[in-house]
Symmetry: D2
Subunit: 384 residues, 4 copies
């Protein structure tokens, strides 16, 4: 499919570093593509860019060097011990393609900010001779957005950018720049990103695709496999209680209740859709630093069967955040590149399989999402 | 659809008693059809017989009266306390339609045995003015079958029945009688029933449908929801260990390793199909009398993600056997009646949704089975 | 030991009703004393009052009749179905001994309030010819106490009661009245009760015993068995996360974060003592109405072994609140009567076995508490 | 206390290698003594040999070099990555003190065998200038022992050794040699070791101490903390079901049902003692190679409270075998050296804290065992 840029927002973080190093390892044959959905045979005829065609760059607020992050991840067992050393040179090249991120100072983003971000993307494409670029948001969870008129339409947004700054979050500033630079955008976090009405309209106008939101990597993934079971069997779920224990950076951000709120919301939304009824029960996200990159979730489902019989199902998921998220980042980069190549416009609902809060879709059941994804990727009658 | 006979093998057991009492309660509006799949809106246009059109009878080796079983179930909390009293008269009518079951004495079934069973079915249909009858096997798990020539074809089977008896299990004797009497047959246990080559051929010749085998009511149900998740996400399952703690009659039978073997086999078969790879790990079925009608299962799944990261998922299912199985018995009676009405012949693979070991099918994933079931029940373009 | 009054605060609630009915059932031989610690052989020589010597009465704000509560508990499976009917007469007698409770209107308790409570206790003792009375607090969890000078000493307290009312919670008003009436007091909830400095001093002056606080009936019980294991084995607990899902009335009260705070505190305190180190991890108490009288707790313990190896222990406790608390109420009534008979003064630390937050004691390990309890009950060299 | 030999049977295995490397790391201050019971302050005055006084040697049937085992353990995450390199020299010295183990060929052990083992021990002590030596059995689980007359007394045993060989297992041959060489013996496995009547008598005659059997490192440890809780609270345990999933070498041996039998027995014995009643429920030990050094256990306890209320407790223990067992090996070596120094004779029941099947003791509750251990180690009134 030709050289494809993968521009990672939060490029120096654990997920991004794991994605980049993993891509190197898989394409050189030293690791299997475990966890990479697009490596399954169903996607063979889809015409996706090969891993060897992906070129990495990105924005980050931190200036800790990539190789340092990689070493830390190897030391704590998140990455295989030999990996950072084996691909030190490659990592150095990616290091050269990283640029400083942006902060919405005083809650505002200026014209200078977005111009700089756009320029970074255009220079990346030119320097690397890319045919297309996908921007993937892997930054930390933002606080809940307050509404402002300039978020409602492209004109108002442009006007605000030109006069004192627009009250949009950093994730939306990145999305704006991506769309201006002709890139596809993947919102892998619960952040607002391209979901502002102004940006949705911009994507339509520019004829660009985007996907999101909030990667489905753990407890919600299991929920989306189990909830359709209760529905299909006409079992009445009475309560569904969930606890998520997170270490690592994301856990810390989410410990702040203001940040947690947007994540909790996007997690809760799907359950009611899958069950066809509202359901009570708490949903906790707790920061437990001791756990590091590990994510442990416990769910307790109380349900009712024939003649009122009371039963329960509980599960404990002990996952590794980076190992679950990173291959999906590569999948989404490849699939969004496909959408870009096909000229798809607006939210790509067929990518809902990957998200807790699938944009413009009420399909949350995993198998249905899988069927939609494969049907879209390789339409009947052949590939691209 | 007209009066439909539901002839239960093991009619005095917990599952059968719960199914019968539950059907009464639901059709009189005193209980919701929770757990009844065919009560979902998807089946509205299917032309299934209504619960009020079902007429119950059956075979059983025990002579404990139905009302006694019902009282025991109410006392131990399996059934609501008021239910046996509320439907005492109705239960009495069903009592009148029960006939003694059959045992394969010395491992052989005689012509007299099968003739009597067939006569019981024909008399039931005539007496009750039935349009069609579905026979559902709910008897205890049999020991593993030893092969004999008379199991291979109808002629050999008939000859053996006429001369000293055929070496077939009781479940197959029931299935033979059902097919001779023009009934549909549902094998809800792991027993051989209609799966002998001789009986398969007989079903074809008579143009009759059958379904099976081994109702998917608990741990395997959850497995069939979770295994496709790992497959779709390209996560490599390394081991899947399962423990089932069963009280009640079925548990006791399965504690005998010879009986357990056939159940274990039918449980294990599906996992490899769903995961697309063989997977190690024990599968235990234990009899813990203290648990009564409760079934508790623990599954431990060890799996691998990107770059070899090791993770686990474990779940505990605490179910009530009768409350899970009974509504499926009603569903299968209604659906098999539909197949009989449509003139379907042989194993109805679209009913695989209900079984651990779906006859003539390799589809084990729950959602795929659901889609096949609903498509078959209400074909596009309308109902029956 | 002679007739012993058991005066229950919150006498119309689930725990009190279960305790009363259970005492009747056990003493008439129709139920085993399962869950009754003092029925163990270790207490045989202690000279405790027999169950048949206990006489019940109490305060409650509700006016729902005891038999109604009992019927509701039987209907929802908390009590055996036949129990309310079997002891209807006895329940009627207890009904006659119930009196209205007290509320701290505007946060203040008046002299008239405490006088009336004291009179209720004295009349009960006289009418029933009691040798001694134990008052047990089973009321709902109160909000966190704000400090006021009149809580600091008996004189200030008396003065405030006489002039406009004392700023003490209802639980402390009950404790005041109990001490004035010469009764022992058991604080079975996390409420303040006798812990105000003014009341501690009053108990000393009157030479009366009290015990508390907050009955250890579920998750904390398991914690107090497991935490000493980690300590004895020198395993380093890194995080201990706890989730409690409660239905029923107590759950509802605790859902209010202001109420929850005091309960959470008393739960957290013990862990650090048992482990000998502070330990991180959330502690949630959630109200899930669907669960009724059931209490489900999940604990996740992350710990470290030799050479930094990371391991986990998790447990799920599925308990029934009333069935766990009620027998302890009977135990504490009997043991507090013993203390009263012996002339013990102030907090009885030997009863710490029963509490999450043992008064004046840092011993939280269950076995150590057990040893202290039995040594106190039957001192070496013989009983009372 | 002076130089103390620690002679490990199965010295090239995972547990032994971890113990040796860990002892080096802890005594040089590069690792904390996490999991080392004797590092707790309670043992300060006991006069135990310091870790720096321990000198390691041992027998093994394998000839894989120690450093190779260490590297494998580091590679699979059982040991910290840097450890084998950091102590390569020290490991080399231990390598030089290893000798070939013994097999009971044709089920018989000869005089030549035991003489050679004894000689190995004596030469080790002389070469290293040891004051005393403790032999610790860490070999694989043996098949169940068949009784033979020569196991009954020292004379018969000696006679059999001299004439064609004695029918005793290898573990008992090692124990015989140890006792002959004046060493203390610790049976850390479920093997017979010193428990033959002939060897018990020999230990008495020689005035030597021994301890055992079967290190309590995981699921049984938790059981011994939880079972006393149910007993103290008078809760009736109705069933206790246990499943152990083991990878690694021990798991493989135990997968053979003949080997498993002896381990299962020693695990089951304690529960009845702690609960004061027999209790039903399966106990499985399964080999799941995928799990490596990890041991996962699930226990399901069904119990009854007041008035027959049914409740459950379940736990999942996810441990690392070597990290749990290795520090106990060091503890037992130090404590057995203390017993040897004190002239203790026969089974040291105070060491029951460490074992699933404590020799000559019915005390299984963990806290009681802990109290016995500390009281023995530092008798009141001072240390050694």
């Amino acid at each position: 499919m030709g050289r494809t840029g993968v521009w990672l927002l939060g490029a120096r973080g654990s997920v991004a570093t794991t994605a980049v190093l993993g891509a190197f390892a898989v394409r050189e044959g030293s690791a299997a593509p475990t966890g990479c959905v697009t490596a399954r045979p169903e996607f063979e005829g889809a015409g996706l860019p090969g891993l060897e065609e992906l070129v990495f760059g990105g924005h980050d607020l931190s200036d800790v060097r990539l190789c340092k992050t990689a070493e830390r991840l190897a030391r704590t067992g998140v990455l295989p011990a030999h990996l950072p050393g084996a691909f030190a040179d490659r990592l150095g090249e990616v290091e050269g393609a990283l640029r400083p991120g942006v902060v919405a100072e005083g809650g505002r983003v200026t014209r200078a900010d977005v111009d700089r971000l756009e320029r970074n993307l255009r220079e990346f494409a030119e320097r690397e001779g890319l045919e297309r670029t996908v921007v993937v948001d892997l930054t930390s969870t933002e606080t809940r957005l307050e509404a402002h008129p300039e978020q409602e339409g492209p004109e108002a947004l442009e006007a605000a950018l030109d006069s004192g700054g627009a009250r949009i979050p950093a994730s939306s500033a990145y999305a704006y720049a991506a769309l201006r630079a002709g890139c596809a955008f993947v919102e892998f976090t619960p952040n607002t990103g391209p979901r502002l009405p102004a940006l949705r309209a911009l994507a339509e106008r520019e004829g660009l695709p985007w996907a999101g939101c909030d990667g489905k990597t753990g407890e919600t993934l299991v929920k989306s496999a189990l909830a359709p079971m209760f529905a299909a069997r006409a079992l009445r779920v009475r309560s569904w209680s969930s606890v998520n224990l997170l270490g690592g950076g994301d856990g810390e951000t989410l410990a702040d209740p203001e940040h947690a709120e947007s994540k909790t919301d996007s997690k809760a939304r799907g359950l009611e859709h899958m069950l066809g009824q509202p359901v009570e029960g708490p949903l906790h996200i707790d920061f437990v630093p001791d756990l590091g990159d590990a994510k442990t979730a416990w769910d307790h489902v109380s349900f009712e069967g024939f003649l009122g019989a009371r039963m329960t199902l509980q599960f404990t998921w002990a996952g590794q955040d980076s190992a679950l998220a990173a291959p999906l980042v590569l999948d989404l980069a490849r699939l969004a590149a496909l959408a870009l190549g096909r000229g798809t416009t607006g939210p790509v609902t067929a990518l809902g399989f990957f998200f807790k809060d699938p944009a413009d879709s009420d399909v949350h059941g995993l198998v249905e999402q899988w069927q939609a994804l494969t049907a879209w990727s390789v339409p009947e009658g052949g590939g691209t």
